[in-house]
Subunit: 411 residues, 2 copies
């Protein structure tokens, strides 16, 4: 009974990923990434994709063990070299109507004992090598969706008190709930949820706020928004009309901060798993949009390496509102996985901004976007600032204030 | 104890695949293909490859379930279309010093209930699309190696009387023996074996036979060899000097028949697993090198589709001698897997010939090779003709005869 329930929810999961996440249409191709624990879901995704008229599914397999062994045993020079033909391959796929579905199962501390210099160099190398194709996803020129399935190491991190198989079952259960797989018709449930997010999006856009203020324990931050910013919640759209949802789950409504107009201090309310390492209890201070100071009880060097990536890594690229009573947040569980934690909490992102957060993105050159205040970077790292004591205010051009979130929740 | 033995042999397997099969050198990249049952071996291969200075291992995952679902649920038109960017990707990798390691685990009857027309169309489509890059492997411009690991369906086919886990264990055991993994130093054992195959190669080359005759029950075939043919056994060589072994295991010494000078009839002595379907008890008759008649108790339509692929599919591209007392043959087991069965039996191949079987391949144009009698085709399909009653004769230009194999074994 238990087992058949699991399979039933897994089938739902595959359908939601295709029908809501990727918004799959006939003749679409898929670049499907997964690892060993994602294989059962990937198999269902493949079957359902072909049933829906997918023209091809390219499987991209990555493995924690192989990844670790590469860092531990590989020659030092290989962490600075990513061959161009790999980037060309992905670009050619994008141009040929392929879209990306990532079934991830991150171990939050996979790389904690690995040479951090290699990790940072490789991250930088990949970011630079893939820079020419990042716009396909960042600017919604292709459809993409990120989802997660639990692996043993991750499950043990979330439920350290349970033994492995119980921890896995508990995390599966949480994920099925957080992703609405237990609803009677999960695809419909996601469509209803999307309508609610679009209402929030419209309300915020109609107000056309000049600034957003975050106030809470250890946090006092004033974020000026880019002129012509657009709030986005839920689904995104291709120019040709396809609707997709880049994250399953998603509870956020987010927009674009001005890269040079962020002032004050912000305290993270959850740990951050970054590059396979944890950063805990950290604060960051901004002046004229730029990080001028930061501290962390654990993993400070990981932040340091992040800020060293490029100028844009020290500025904000996203501000996102999520109520403290979101279905994910209500579980009261720390996921150690940005995909879930960012949808349980207001958050900010360091690094690259999303073009879709500009109302007139299509008509603007990169230069003009930058001038408006859009941040660019090789990285995009979300960190959580929400919680039951957070107050978020919107300030209009005329100086009038609207309380958006009080005690962590929508007013 | 049993388990640790398995792991010990598996580690040996990985080392043999890298040190003997691929002849891996520092700075080589690897294109590593595997499926779920190959994953444990693939992981060891990755670790050992990085330890040996590999610059990169690209993992290529294929899955029987996904493959079947594609055939069963995919739109009809997708079996005629392979995007060029996939071929370009492989070519770019070859040009960038990547080499292919295939860890296969074929289910001999995977596609038996699938629309055969789709299978044939897809095979033709892939062959045509990859035609521009086939020479990299066929002419030893890159290193490549094919090996196999048992999966449940294959193991049950070989040992139908055993239950699944026992069948798997028995097939693992057979494969470890057939691949010399139980020898004290398997890498050294393979090097010794290579010396013996090279001696056979030299003996056959020194005799410079004009014709090879096969005589046995249902078989009476005269094969004229190409002028300037070269016998090959064991390892191959890149121009730059790297030594590799394209099959693990390998027991054969093979050369190039003249595409237009094969006369007589030949009876297959083992079933052939072709495109996921079995062909059993079949004979083929040749006239002026070309198939003029064929019959099969089972799977005749599979042969029919094969011969319809192109003109070259109806002519021979390889003649290979393997003694009936080879270590694989001695097990007396039918593997339903060409990699093993062809190394337990003399065999012939329909379709494309190997350039390395011409002494002066480097200096000859494709046109000149064809004129000499080299066969070309999109396919290359080995079928087994050896057995305890087979006699193989070599006939020199002056008409003198040498008995090469008597009662199936080297004289």
């Amino acid at each position: 009974m238990k087992h058949s329930n699991h399979l039933f929810y897994l089938e739902n999961y595959a359908k939601v990923l295709l029908d809501v996440g990727l918004g799959l249409r006939s003749n679409d191709g898929i670049l499907l990434s997964f690892d060993e624990v994602g294989l059962p879901l990937a198999r269902i995704v493949v079957r359902e994709a072909y049933r829906r008229g997918a023209k091809d599914v390219i499987t991209i397999f990555a493995d924690d063990t192989m990844n670790l062994d590469r860092y531990n045993f590989g020659m030092d020079k290989i962490f600075d070299d990513m061959p161009k033909f790999k980037v060309d391959y992905r670009e050619q796929a994008f141009l040929d109507n392929y879209h990306s579905l990532y079934i991830t199962s991150p171990n939050p501390e996979l790389l904690k004992d690995v040479d951090g210099d290699r990790v940072a160099r490789w991250q930088k190398c990949v970011s630079q090598a893939t820079e020419p194709i990042q716009h396909y996803q960042m600017d919604n020129k292709v459809k993409w969706c990120v989802a997660s399935v639990p692996g043993p190491a991750w499950a043990k991190k979330v439920f350290p008190e349970l033994e492995k198989s119980q921890a896995l079952e508990a995390l599966w259960n949480l994920i099925f709930e957080a992703t609405r797989m237990k609803e009677e018709d999960p695809v419909e449930a996601w469509k209803r949820h999307d309508v609610l997010l679009k209402e929030k999006e419209k309300y915020l856009d109609d107000n056309n706020f000049d600034k957003i203020l975050f106030k809470g324990p250890g946090t006092d931050l004033e974020i000026t928004l880019v002129k012509g910013h657009k709030w986005i919640g839920g689904s995104s759209k291709l120019e040709r009309g396809d609707v997709f949802m880049a994250n399953i789950p998603t509870e956020e409504v987010f927009t674009m901060p001005h890269a040079k107009r962020v002032e004050g201090i912000v305290r993270a309310t959850k740990p951050l798993s970054l590059q396979g390492q944890l950063v805990e209890n950290f604060s960051i201070e901004f002046k004229e949009g730029k990080v001028v100071a930061f501290e962390a009880e654990k993993g400070r060097e990981v932040l340091e390496k992040l800020f060293a990536m490029d100028e844009g890594a020290m500025r904000l690229g996203e501000v996102a509102l999520v109520p403290d009573d979101s279905p994910i947040s209500r579980r009261g569980v720390l996921f150690f996985n940005t995909l879930f934690d960012e949808n349980a909490s207001c958050h900010l992102a360091l690094g690259n901004a999303y073009g879709e957060n500009l109302r007139q993105a299509q008509e603007l050159s990169d230069e003009e976007k930058k001038k408006l205040g859009m941040n660019t970077s090789m990285v995009h790292v979300d960190f959580m600032v929400g919680g039951p004591e957070l107050e978020v205010l919107g300030i209009k051009e005329d100086g009038s204030q609207v309380v958006l979130l009080q005690d962590g929740n929508w007013v």
